[in-house]
C-alpha cells in the first residue's frame, strides 16, 4: 500500500502546513474569523461554483481547520478529511452523506455508548435502521447486509469490550456486497493503526481523545480514503447522481476518488453545520505534533497496568489485547504492532459495590467520562456511558455491572500501579 514521501513523525508535525506567507509564522495561526473577503465579484462566484479554491465562511472551511483536516488525512492515507464539532458529529455526517430514510447500517455491537444511542435510537426515528453483530464474526457482518445496507461500521478496538476488529476480513465482506467499511479509530489513532491501508474506506476519530491528547477540547474528524468506487457500487445515489441542492452536481463524476468528502463538506457541513471552532483545531494540531511520543508512553504504561491487574486477587479478569489471555491477542499483534491502545477494562470481584469503592479509592486516576487524556482516567460504564442500555444489551456488548474501564495516561507507571493497589485495597476492604 502507498507510503507518503515522509515518515509519520515528520508528517505529524508538518503535513498540511507551510509557514504563513504573510507573517512567516511557523505555528499554524488561529484564523478566528467567521468569513473571508472575496478578491472581487468574479472570484466570489468562482468560489461558490467550485471553480477556484479558497475560504468563504468558517462553517464550510477555515484555514486553521484546513491544516488539521489535511494533516489527519495524510496520516490516515486519505484523499481528504473534515474537522467537525465532535466525534458524534463525524459519525452523523458520514451517515447523513451516505444514506437516508429506508437505508440500513450493519454495525459491531461493541461500540461507544454515544454511537450506540445514535444508531439504535435516534437514527431509527429518522428511518435508518442498524443491525448489530458480533465484532469478532465477519460472517455475521456479511449475513446482516441487505439490499438497503449503505455502511458497515465498527471500532478498531471495541468499547469497552476491547474486541479487535478484523478490518481486512470485515472490509472484504463489505466490499463483496458493494458496501463501504467505516471504522472508528479513536482508541488507536493513525499512529497505532492505519485502517485505510488495512482495507477500510472511511475513518472517523473523536479527536477529543488521544489526538488532542490533553482533555481540553471536543472535536471530531472524518477521513475519506478515496478508495471506494461509489458509482460502481450502484448503492449511493447521493454520490453518483445529480444533486439538485448543488445545481445538479454529480459528486462522483466531478470529484472522482474524493466524491464522499466533497459531498460531506458541500452538503453535510453546509446544512447540518456541525463545524469545528478554529481554536479547537489549533489545540488538536498541537496534540498531533506529539502524538507519536505520547502514544509510545501510553502503550508502555497501559501494558504495565494490564499486566499488574492480571496478577491481583481482587480482579476477576482483564481485557486488553496486549495480554496473551485476550481472545484477539494474535490479531492485535498483526494489525496493531505498535500497541493495542491505552484503554483497558477489567472485572473487579465483588460486582457493582466493589467497583464503586475501587473508583472512590483512587487518587491519581480521575473518575470521569472520557478517554485519551494525558492524565489517567477511570469510569464504570454500566452507570455512566452505557447507562441507557438494558441488561440484555449490556450483556451483548460485553459489559457487566462490575466492569471498570481505565484510560491509562502518561504519569509514572509506578505511581499508577500504587494508585490501583489503593483502589483494590478499598474494594476488598469494603467487601468484608
Amino acid at each position: 500500500m502507498a507510503k507518503a514521501p515522509f515518515e509519520f513523525d515528520t508528517l505529524a508535525l508538518h503535513a498540511g502546513q507551510r509557514p504563513d506567507a504573510e507573517t512567516g509564522a511557523r505555528a499554524t495561526p488561529i484564523y478566528q474569523s467567521a468569513s473571508f473577503v472575496f478578491e472581487d465579484a468574479e472570484a466570489a462566484v468562482g468560489l461558490f461554483n467550485i471553480e477556484r479554491t479558497g475560504h468563504v465562511y468558517s462553517r464550510l472551511s477555515n484555514p486553521t481547520n484546513a491544516v488539521l483536516e489535511e494533516r489527519i488525512a495524510v496520516l490516515d492515507q486519505g484523499v481528504g478529511a473534515l474537522a467537525v464539532a465532535s466525534g458524534q458529529a463525524a459519525m452523523h455526517l458520514a451517515v447523513a452523506t451516505l444514506m437516508g430514510a429506508g437505508d440500513h447500517i450493519v454495525a459491531s455491537r461493541s461500540l461507544y455508548g454515544g454511537t450506540h444511542n445514535l444508531l439504535d435510537y435516534t437514527l431509527r426515528r429518522f428511518g435508518i435502521d442498524t443491525t448489530f453483530v458480533d465484532p469478532r464474526d465477519p460472517a455475521a457482518f456479511a449475513a446482516a447486509i441487505t439490499d438497503r445496507t449503505k455502511l458497515v461500521f465498527g471500532e478498531v478496538i471495541g468499547n469497552p469490550g476491547m474486541e479487535v476488529l478484523d478490518i481486512p476480513s470485515v472490509a472484504a465482506v463489505a466490499h463483496a456486497a458493494g458496501v463501504p467499511l467505516m471504522v472508528d479509530a479513536t482508541f488507536t489513532t493513525p499512529y497505532l493503526c492505519q485502517p485505510i491501508e488495512l482495507g477500510a474506506d472511511l475513518v472517523m476519530h473523536s479527536a477529543t481523545k488521544f489526538l488532542s491528547g490533553h482533555g481540553i477540547v471536543i472535536g471530531g474528524l472524518l477521513v475519506d480514503g478515496g478508495v471506494f468506487d461509489w458509482a460502481k457500487s450502484g448503492r449511493f445515489p447521493t454520490l453518483s447522481e445529480p444533486y439538485a441542492g448543488f445545481h445538479n452536481l454529480n459528486f462522483s463524476e466531478s470529484f472522482g476518488p474524493a466524491a464522499f468528502i466533497a459531498r460531506a463538506r458541500r452538503e453535510g457541513l453546509r446544512d447540518f453545520g456541525a463545524c469545528m471552532a478554529p481554536t479547537t483545531a489549533f489545540h488538536i494540531l498541537q496534540g498531533i505534533e506529539t502524538l507519536s511520543l505520547r502514544m509510545e508512553r501510553h502503550m508502555t504504561n497501559a501494558e504495565r497496568v494490564a499486566q499488574f491487574l492480571t496478577e491481583q486477587d481482587g480482579v476477576a479478569s482483564v481485557n486488553h489485547p496486549s495480554l496473551v489471555s485476550h481472545p484477539d491477542h494474535e490479531l492485535a499483534k498483526r494489525l496493531l504492532p505498535k500497541g493495542a491502545g491505552a484503554v483497558l477494562s477489567f472485572e473487579i470481584k465483588g460486582g457493582r459495590e466493589a467497583g464503586i469503592r475501587f473508583i472512590e479509592g483512587l487518587k491519581v486516576f480521575s473518575h470521569l467520562a472520557n478517554v485519551g487524556d494525558a492524565k489517567s482516567l477511570v469510569i464504570h460504564p454500566a452507570s455512566t456511558t452505557h447507562h441507557r442500555m438494558d441488561d440484555a444489551a449490556l450483556k451483548a456488548a460485553g459489559i457487566s455491572e462490575g466492569l471498570v474501564r481505565l484510560s491509562v495516561g502518561l504519569e509514572d507507571s509506578g505511581d499508577l500501579i500504587k494508585d490501583l493497589k489503593s483502589g483494590l485495597r478499598a474494594a476488598a476492604k469494603g467487601g468484608h
Binding site: A2, K3, A4, P5, F6, L11, H14, A15, G16, Q17, R18, V45, G46, N49, I50, E51, R52, T53, G54, H55, L60, S61, N62, P63, N65, A66, E69, E70, R71, A73, V74, Q77, G78, V79, G80, A81, L82, A83, G225, G226, V227, D229, H247, N248, L249, E253, S254, F255, G256, P257, A258, I261, R265
Partner: protein, 262 residues
C-alpha cells in the same frame, strides 16, 4: 456526457454546462493514468461562461471504455473523432503532461480544429525513465507511487492543498490507482515513444500558452521552454512553487492562465 466513438462508450465531462451551437468550445486532455476530474475547476469555470466544455476521458480511463490507445498520434485522431461526434468544428485545446503531447499533435494534425493551444507540464520529447517504465510494466502501483512523488513540488509533498481539507499526495495517488491494470504503462510508453514533438510544434501557428511549474521534476522548466520556442506564437507562464501536478498545486493560478488563452 456519454457518447459513442467507433462503437466504444466515451465519457466527456462538461463542467456541469450545456453544449449549444454557436458557443466557443474548450477541449481538455488529461495526463497519464488520470481522467477528466483533474479539470474540475476550469471545466466548471468555462461552462459557466458559456463554453462547450469537452473534458474527455481518454479510452480506458475514467468512464471511457478501453482499451487504452498506445500512441500519441492515435489519441490525437481519437480527439478529432470525439469533436466530430459532438459536431464541434474547433476548440481551444488544453492538455496536461501526456495530454499536452496529444494536444500538440492534435494542433499539428488538425490546425483548423484548433483555435488556441495550452500546454501544461509539457516537454518534447517526454522520455520516461527506465526505472519508471519498468516499474509500470511489472507493478504499476509502484510506478504510480514513484511518479506521484515526482509530480509534486518540495512544498507540495508536505501538503498545503489549496482546496480545504484535501491532500495533494494521496489525492493524486488515489486517482492513479483507479486505472485498470496496464493502462498506466500504455500511457507512459506512449509518452516515451513520441519523439517528433519538436517537429510537430513547428506546424502549429495558433496562439499558444506553455504553463510551467518551477519545481516540475517530470517535465522540467527548461524542457517546457523549448516547446514554447518551437511554437510560432507561444507565450510562457511559470507558476511557483509548483510541481508537475499543477492543477492541484496551483488551481487558481492555472485558471487565471487558462483564462488568458482559452
Amino acid at each position: 456526457m456519454k457518447l459513442s466513438v467507433a462503437d466504444k462508450a466515451v465519457f466527456v465531462g462538461t463542467g456541469n454546462g450545456q453544449h449549444a451551437e454557436g458557443q466557443e468550445s474548450v477541449l481538455f486532455v488529461h495526463g497519464a493514468g488520470m481522467d477528466h476530474t483533474v479539470w474540475l475547476m476550469p471545466a466548471r469555470h468555462f461552462a459557466r461562461h458559456g463554453y462547450n466544455v469537452i473534458a474527455v476521458d481518454l479510452p480506458g480511463h475514467g468512464d471511457s471504455e478501453g482499451p487504452a490507445l498506445t500512441t500519441i498520434e492515435a489519441m490525437a485522431d481519437w480527439l478529432a473523432e470525439v469533436l466530430a461526434e459532438l459536431g464541434i468544428a474547433s476548440a481551444a485545446v488544453v492538455g496536461h503532461s501526456m495530454g499536452s503531447l496529444v494536444a500538440l499533435e492534435f494542433a499539428a494534425r488538425f490546425p483548423t480544429h484548433t483555435r488556441t493551444l495550452a500546454l501544461l507540464g509539457t516537454s518534447t520529447p517526454m522520455p520516461v525513465s527506465d526505472v519508471l517504465l519498468d516499474a509500470a510494466k511489472t507493478d504499476d502501483r509502484q510506478a504510480m507511487e514513484m511518479a506521484n512523488t515526482w509530480s509534486h513540488s518540495g512544498p507540495g509533498l508536505m501538503g498545503g492543498h489549496k482546496s480545504p481539507g484535501m491532500t495533494l499526495y494521496f489525492g493524486g495517488l488515489r486517482l492513479l490507482q483507479r486505472t485498470e491494470e496496464g493502462v498506466y504503462f500504455a500511457d507512459l510508453n506512449a509518452c516515451n515513444l513520441y519523439e517528433r514533438g519538436a517537429e510537430r510544434a513547428q506546424k502549429v501557428a495558433c496562439p499558444a500558452l506553455v504553463l510551467i511549474g518551477d519545481e516540475d521534476k517530470m517535465t522540467g522548466p527548461r524542457q517546457a521552454s523549448k516547446v514554447a520556442e518551437a511554437l510560432a506564437n507561444a507565450r510562457v507562464e511559470a507558476l511557483s512553487p509548483c510541481g508537475h501536478a499543477m492543477m492541484t498545486e496551483q488551481p487558481n493560478a492555472v485558471l487565471a492562465a487558462l483564462k488568458s488563452i482559452v
